[in-house]
Amino acid sequence: MNRGHNRAAVLEAHAEHLPLLRGLGRYVGDLTLPGMLHVAFVRSPHAHAKIRAIDVAAARGCPGVVDVLGGAGLAERLAPIRARLDPDGDYDYRETPWPAMAHERVRYVGEIVAAVIAADRYKAEDAAAAVAVDYEPLAAASDVAAALRDGAPEVHAPGGNVLFRVRKQSGDAGACFADAPLRLSARFKHPRVAGMSMEGCGVLARYDAVADELVFWSSTQIPHLLRDGLSRCLGMPAERIRVIAPEVGGAFGIKMQLFPEEVILAYAARQLGRPVKWIQDRSEHLIASFHARDVTVEAEIAADGEGRLLGLRAKAWCDVGAYSAFPLTCALEPHTIATALPGPYRWDCFDYEGYAVATNKYPGGAYRGVGFPIGPLVTETLIDRVARKLDCDPIEIRRRNLLRPDDMPFSSASGAVYDSGDYPALLQAAVDRADYATWREEQKQAAQAGRRLGIGVACFVEASGMNRRVYRGRGMMEIPAFESALIRVSPGGDIFAAVSTPSQGQGQRTTFRRLLSERLGVAPDAIAIGLGDTAVAPYGAGTFGSRSVVSGGGALLAAAGKLCDRLCVLAAARWAVPVASVAFADGGVQEIGQGGRRLSLAELAGLAYSARTDLPDGVEPGLEVRVAHDPKAAPFSAAAHLVLVEVDPRTGQVAIRRYVVAEDCGPIVNPAAVDGQVRGGIAQGIGCALYEDIVYDAEGQHLSATLQDYLVPGAGEVPEIDIVHQVTPSPFTEGGHKGVGESGTIGAPAAIVSAVMDALRADPPRIILPLSPQRVHDVMEGRADERA
């Protein structure tokens, strides 16, 4: 065990988590309001069907029912959820407006066709069972293959099922591959997975008639974007909607999309003038929350005889379900895979085509890592194959190819700019910590005893804190992509800071407090933090894509700089000296030079507020600054994972024995939070690699609606994880920070696949996740998976 910090430090770092662990947090589910009503939804049992009629009369007559929403009437009053892409972008995209409540046609199992509002959830559920819907079932496109077949059922007729297509090229792939001494290819399938946050979604909506304001508590990552999305669907001014994200029990990307339920709750609260609440249950969470991944990739690698990597080409088909989600659209996965594929390597040529294909399934959305886990899964697996072909050690082949510090900043084969990092040193750090040579020795000895150990390695980069330029490049015009911070100092010198990137349990309060306390030289607990309320926090995109510290924290640091400048002006005016002769230091302003005078923050705040102070020209009274911040570039963090697995030679079961991570996210603000992110991310990566799979059958029926069917890793499946840190500050961000929220999830599937294939010494034509015991067994037997 190598945790690197003691108990007291851990407690301090998790100070804000202790009350949550003791049940003192207030999640949406904990909130109640007088007169509150509860909502249950009637959902389609069909993957694809016409709605002939909806009869809500019986449901209306059920005990405790206040209202039943459904049918065409609502459609006229609620605009569909729309997710636009920049029409001028270099891709093809077809929009798929998504009615919050279906009234003519349902396109996936679980689509909402009616909502019952009643005195309690039991009554609402009972009445929901009394809603009669007459469906005319239609043939369903249940996966990419079915959706692309000639004569396939059209999810949105007419125009075929390809909703988005993009191509990224660099170098001359044709020539490069034609001349390459070594070419190897494989097909990959990453399952459809669910984010499985501990807390599902939930909404409490209240219409305040006096203020003409909708107050909307939601378990969301994106308070402002949610507000804007609701505003559009309801036709209600955004500034009349206040979104509050109270404590949120995990989100992982799922809760950065606008849910149809949210639109319906907002509408119902305004319509009825009474508070309405909906708490998603676990089956709803599995059936009707944004799923992710569900990607098939065909890829080929070119290398020379010394194992130098030459070229990479790939096609990815992303099964995005029935609609594009707001704000990211179905371009999310195919776009991101392009960024992810090149990894920490140089390629002479790169050729990528990505497709988003509509199917009759729940819409796809963001999930920790978005597209990035697919990158190393494909690239690292193919690199392993080159190594095996050339009888080269997998570490050695990476050493030969990893980008070096003097390559930085580096423009990747798919056009991303890697800002900084020492990738070979990272790999070496992991190799040293693991003591790789002894792992190999152990593997050899185990083999003599008939046991199969395998060692896996994955090197990768992670785009974090993506700025306006990145989203502009992807045409994702719905994403504002900047974050804001506000700092207010009270007349007595007490500090309040609000940031637009709220917490879903990652510990942003602690992190932001530390950042600001170090910058201002005041104690962390002297700072109050406000997050997750559009009436409190300034505008921003929200928390996702490993952006909290980079973009939100960047905004906070920039605001702190502005505050310090203001304090210097105040002090200089007070002393009647030029601003250049004073400086901010250690929680106050100091006159430069020996015996210089000093004013504390509290004294300066007093001056800023007091009517007695004659403020200099252009300086406003009070002490509040706000900054909107767009990082100069999206920083890339990096990591190397090494994992030792044991494969049961008879059953194919995989057990993870050791796990070592070397990571570089720049300067670390809160080590406990960083380690927590890495560990949690790896747990989810393990899930994707070995267990998790949202299965739909050929008719589009959802077969994974309970935790008995959808296997997530438990404590027994997550090993001790040994983490080594390396710090290379980004030249492009305030404080040099890089994001780390998705890192673990990105590397784990690739590393585990690498290890299993090392154990089996196999390079099957298809790599299909999750690597269930049966699939591994099939690989050992040389059998192709019949359900690929």
């Binding site: 079961q653 077969l703 296997l711 890793p713 438990g714 027994g716």
Partner: protein, 289 residues
Amino acid sequence: MSDMRYVVPRTLDEAVGAFAEAKGAARILAGGTDLLVQMRAGAVRPGLVIDIKKIAELTGIEETADGGFRIGGAVAGARLAEHPRFGKVWPGLLEAINLIGSTQVQGRASAGGNLCNGSPAADSVPAMVAAGAVATLQGPKGRREMPVEDVPAGPGRTNLQPGEILVGFILPPRPLGSGDAYLRMIPRTEMDIAVVGCGVNLTLKDGVCTAARVGLGAVAPTVLRVDAAAKALIGSRLDAAALDAAAAACRAACHPIDDKRGTIAYRTEVAGVLLKRAAGIAADRAKGA
């Protein structure tokens, strides 16, 4: 939602009476870890729920004078684990029962419920079958006994007569040199439905297997007793040839379903693997290793 009644009889007769009278509209509640889940999912909607946990005979664990055991049908897994003797005599059977669910589930789940729920993947049942356990049943027509392997009739169905309640299990006394083991295959380490489960119970004398019983789960509509596998072991020194033959017999007995948890080929293959491993553990226990 229709009305539901809940009764807590203190005697078996009361319970049988109420159960018979309700004519199929009633359900027995032991730990409820199957029943309540099924009720929540709307799969069963009983008009009457009869809680049997307050009936002394259904909640006792008794070591009989001959060295056998009587276990009440509603005894929770955690209780059996706490018993000073049971796990020493029947380590494999106890493991099988304790594999059910998690710590929380163990506080409630019973082997009786596991059997009466009728799942072909029920974990304790192959181990019970291997142990040679006999079920005691009581109904309106009185009491009778039935070998555990005869209780399941198909997925979700049993051969209990209307109004019959499982009173408990009788486990035979153990000859010297006996050992048992249960193994199941699941993708994770815990909390899952068996892809295959295999229980082996055997007796060794001077290294030779003199008695054996084998139970197999999740590979057919009901848990199976595989006599051909037992026969392959009996008389052998559990050498490779005997184990291969027993494994082949297990595979031959399989007629599993093909679902997302496992293909027919995989379940069949793994049934043989588990037989060999379980036989190995049982043999070690028989030798006192």
